[in-house]
Amino acid sequence: MLPSRPEDRSPGAAALPEDPEDLSPGTAAERTRLAWARTAIAFGAVGLAMLRGEPVAGLLVLAVTPVIWALGRYVSTKTRPETRSRRLLLVTVAVTGVAVLAAVAAVLGHGGPVRLR
């Protein structure tokens, strides 16, 4: 919101800023919420894909999916830097965890020719 220049909101105004977001960062926050939604969907898709070969790992990934989705609901222009950092760290830990689960499933899992047991 930019209360100091309300006249800029009218279409075709002479003093329009070159970037419409100079009026309000709202669309940037909206795009970021959508990016979080895409990430949560990707997470869910990975969970479903793992469910077939490794049901336990797949369910674990699916259980984390709503958490990622919920984190994206709270995207705001007023989020404190530490809170933002912690949320992104959580995503990193979750994605790295999925990679570790997948690596274990690939090496020890069912159907693979490599048997370490």
Partner: protein
């Protein structure tokens, strides 16, 4: 190209907000324009989706592909590096998000990302390895 410093606080945040969020004792470390922060966050999320895609591709190669005739290690040799790359991309994306955020706070130039290089290197390697596996499989 507009510089981050030129856009800091412009339009979106008042200077009052900036000073509230800046760390005490660190002059010049004010919070950047929130749009840069959000763009940085979207870049981080995009890299993490890339990481997830790599993991699922690697897992798909190992679990869904039929074994290469004569090359019993073939699927693992191709799939496991992709899964490991997924983990590396995710962790590197977080480190680079922090680095970029710090640069934005200090109005410094945004550091160049190493992620494209890592991605290109590994995918080229896996592609070359697929060619080797297919050739070995054809010969045997």
């Amino acid at each position: 190209m507009r510089q981050a410093s030129a856009r800091r606080g412009g339009g979106a945040t008042s200077s009052h907000d900036e000073h509230q969020e800046s760390k005490p004792g660190e002059p010049g470390d004010a919070e950047p324009d929130v749009r840069f922060t959000l763009a940085n966050e979207r870049t981080f999320l995009a890299w993490n989706r890339t990481a997830l895609a790599l993991v699922v591709a690697g897992l798909g190669i190992v679990q869904l592909l039929p074994p290469f005739p004569g090359v019993p290690w073939g699927r693992h040799a191709l799939g496991v590096p992709l899964i490991v790359l997924g983990a590396i991309v995710s962790v590197t994306a977080y480190l680079e998000w922090r680095r970029t955020q710090t640069a934005l706070r200090r109005s410094e130039p945004i550091p160049q990302s190493v992620l494209p290089k890592i991605l290109v290197g590994t995918i080229t390697g896996v592609a070359a390895l697929s060619a080797v596996v297919l050739l070995v499989s054809a010969v045997r």
